[in-house]
Symmetry: D2
Subunit: 351 residues, 4 copies
């Protein structure tokens, strides 16, 4: 079987590096293009990355040798993963969609567009249907799909199955987010040593809005936001990877703690699709008092699973629990790759 | 003026050390006794503390020379500060009260006793009245008063003025607590490096209950718990000092963000008492997006003030905000000393 | 092929856990016994370890089910790995050797014994010869072999090849050691947050002596210490794993920087033995200015390789460089396993 | 007494902020000017610093109100402290000297100039004599004096008295430097969490050269470098403030450990000058096994004293010890201020 050629836009940044690392031995995809800003272009990737590669292990040799391109079509690939900064991602992604490429974007720019799916495949695989609608926007056969913010993902993975089973009416969440979520160089060490930063620009608004689209419905090519109220407070703590979220939730139908746990543990809607990056199960519930912990649990399911713990009654809303997910894998590059795999299975990547 | 002689029970532990440090230059009190477990007794404090003194600066010379006693009356002092571990504090504190000592306890053992005030002087100074009731328990002129848990204090300092002004019906809090809250040796470094510990034994129950006593009323020598529902989730993060708390609150009477801020900024009920450890003002409201931060704000008011920030609307309850307080000063030793100062002013310490 | 049965003494501690983790899929050895102190004995390992397992991933199921035994022969195995604390390791290891077991010890107790090899297989494989001598001590067919201290190993891996090629006369080393080297619970978080601990009890003496035995000669069953002077200063820094060492060295024969690098890069004396845990190459030399770094380089060769960098001229001795090695793998459990593999190849493990 | 007006060049950076903080209540000096790059100029300091002030406590009100100027003479002051980045400090400092200002520079640009003193007042106060020589360079009555690199200072404070007493021939030093030494934003948190950075650009060369000038002699307006060989390896560790240095030293005359300690403890050459920032004593020797530690010892003498510990025999050179000094106080802003105070006493600041 011939692998599908893919490119990485924003290949030099933290998320771009993660894409390259995760795609190294991918069974369906092969990285044939790395693109970045003009000043990196026309040099070998390995040379551009001297002193900038921050992943464990070395740059995959096949990618190291690639010449860095500018983020302008055409590129020699069928699909591009976009790890571009939000300050530039908007028009670049549009240009690629218009030129016929499938764009799997990790950037926020098009997440809330009326005709762009904001995907968490376990939760809203049917949202892919809106792509037909979107295709009318573009001159060629391309389109854009997106994955949510790194702090939305853990929340939605936990709430999604509950919403399906019982209805979720309210969710109040406090996030303890890892440093890698701010990219590189990101947070100065002097800001976080012996400290917590109680603010992440723009984050709370995303966490309050994105879940409503993801858990909403898509009918006749139109999204209906879910009728769920989310209240978020976002903080940055001294961990490298893994966003920990403390959630209180109110359900529409009554349910007890055991029913919540069973719902999560039975949840595995992608099982039969055989997607290489889909964790199985996607949700792990720990019974110990003191889990999940970022250091010990973030790599579950190769960083693609969510770990839930401390499920108990909330005296104000009804239930409370902790959820952890790996912010640069499940919350960024891995999410985009899972989206691409879902599309591959659905036949969107045939040339 | 002759200073009041005070003793420190549990003088070798983390909170005991903080008592000694804070009392070093106290205008009203002088440490004349340090007591600890049997195996430390009968040696000079400075010798017992070799390699164990963890405060900045050296042991105050006048205390260094004291012989460590066992925690058994009599001691040469009028008042004892109890920094004892909860596993032993109960009967020891009773023995001292019964022997005629005033016991200012930082331990949890007697906090919820029917006749023991759980004091935050800015909020419930009138609770001292219950002491008369308590005195019937003891053979002599002693009694016990307590201060709340280190994660209760920030919450109550923020809620207390709101409760008085508008009534508080619900408060949902997530705590990010500092390492010093677990004492010494406390949390192993391998447990917290690049990690968050999402559980502190017993803590959530205390945070959900203690505020109800503190903000409750005391009539005819009986406490009536405040009609406030608190939901708490407690975590340990990688900071040395300063508990940061993320709070959503619902009020009985409507109020807008500005009214909350004004209420806090005008709050200074102890101002006229001239207590040496009372911060003035006790509550500082920061307008920046990214405050309070443990490293930069925990020492406000010599560690006795609370810093509130990010006051804004909560889409689920009505308001949300962050509050920070120094856990071993305002949340422990400093709170006990402030209690003692309030009693001094009220005339309880006259011999 | 039937696997050799092995036991782990001190199986509940930090190093014991590492043994179990590293042996999980070992091609030659299978863990059939886990032994610990009396109070853990007679319960399933998984139950004893509740809340104490600190490795990434879960306890290997085959070990989880084992009943914990006391550290007393007989055990159902041919070889025991000793991760015992030095306070008890001495007589226990002797009892096992005397009962006919092969004892691979990570403890310091017998390292300097006249008839016990202190092994770094890449450097002194021939020291195994002294085993014949040692066997006279014991009633049965057992014996003890040891691996060096976790901060000796990096130094000796770097110096060993230089000593063979040019002779080493002096080595001055400063160590920056990781927290895991102190075991669990080990260093309290309050001692190391925003701090360095400039002292590790007993460590400098070991680093100054052990290399002389390892790089020394073994003739007619007697050790001759190498004529090398080592001066060590040992510190504890805020890293989880990976001891970083800064070394200045004086050679007997003149050599330039390139010759040192070549010597290290050509060094691979175990290559032909096919030992499963032997890294190949055992020494990696990085040319970048800013390597080796504990976080990025400690896992090289599955934690069994040493990474050397910043090789340059020293104006006082002749050369200086940095060397990094993983302290709980190459510096502890992995080293013992490599020793066992070397003995296996040499035929010592045939029953 | 009227205070001497001083300005701060580079007032917005980390060292500039430290100058402002340390000068807040200075008995002799008053900050009348703050200057920075063109893009900060012509706005009030407090406004420019919104979100950038990183010192504990708030901006001193008298400075907060100052309008930021560009780094171009004239400024309304007699002396300027230069906290400028080395990329721009050279010509700016020359311009101020030429315009008649006394320039106390923390930058490296002019440290090794033939006619510029590189001052550590306790060690080489007589080097001020070279100023007469330097004045010929400039049109007016100004001149430049400098203080050493933040990692030179601890070393020289320790070696200076030994050099005077016994002669120092060789010193081999490994530094463990704090994050604040790299300025702000400085080291990204992702680079240092669970890590050590084994390289600081340019640092080792400075540490190997600067002590030779400081401990050298100044005769007839010319410097003679001290005949001391220094070998340095510099690392960055996870501490906020306080450079810890591990030193081995060889003396010209024999001395034992006690003589070294006595020499350091008797050392207090500035005692009689009454300089406000001069620590007394400047060197503190700790006898405990595990001191100095950055967190506990860096603030000795208000951050101006050096703390030495673990003095013992080195089997390669003769003695080894640890020395700690606060890098942004004694190693930067405080050092410059001490220089200014010394000049004030010597009469250089009279107008």
């Amino acid at each position: 079987m011939e692998k599908v050629k893919v490119g990485v836009l924003g290949a030099t940044g933290a998320v771009g590096q993660r894409f390259i690392q995760l795609l190294e031995k991918h069974p369906w995809f092969v990285v044939t293009e790395v693109a970045a800003s003009e000043r990196s272009a026309r040099r070998p990737y390995v040379e551009v990355m001297k002193g900038r590669w921050k992943m464990a292990g070395d740059i995959p040799p096949s990618v190291a040798a690639l010449e860095v391109k500018e983020c302008i079509p055409p590129l020699d690939c069928r699909l591009v993963f976009s790890a571009l900064d939000a300050s530039v991602a908007g028009p670049v992604e549009e240009a690629f969609a218009d030129a016929g490429y499938i764009v799997c974007s990790n950037s926020r720019n098009h997440r809330m567009d009326d005709d762009v799916p904001l995907m968490v495949p376990e939760v809203n695989l049917d949202h892919l249907d809106v792509i037909e609608q979107q295709r009318r926007r573009w001159s060629n056969d391309g389109f854009i799909i997106t994955n949510p913010n790194c702090s939305t993902i853990g929340l939605v993975m936990a709430l999604g199955p509950l919403h399906k089973a019982f209805g979720v009416s309210k969710a109040l969440v406090t996030t303890l987010q890892a440093l890698s979520g701010a990219g590189y160089p990101g947070i100065p060490s002097l800001d976080i040593l012996d400290n917590v930063v109680p603010f992440i620009p723009g984050e709370e608004a995303k966490v309050e809005l994105e879940p409503r689209k993801i858990m909403g419905t898509c009918q006749n090519g139109r999204f209906l936001l879910a009728n769920v109220t989310v209240s978020a407070s976002c903080t940055r703590v001294h961990t490298r990877d893994g966003h920990l979220e403390i959630v209180s939730v109110q359900l529409v139908e009554k349910a007890d703690t055991d029913e919540l746990i069973k719902t999560w543990e039975r949840f595995n809607p992608l099982a039969e699709l055989g997607l290489p990056s889909a964790p199985s199960p996607p949700i792990i519930v720990r019974r110990e008092d003191d889990r999940p912990q970022p250091y010990f649990d973030r790599d579950e399911g190769n960083g693609m699973a969510c770990v839930i713990g401390r499920v108990r009654t909330c005296p104000i809303l009804e239930h409370k629990f902790f959820v952890l997910s790996h912010n640069t894998i499940r919350g960024a590059a891995g999410a985009s790759i899972l989206n691409a795999e879902a599309m591959y299975r659905r036949g969107y990547l045939k040339s």
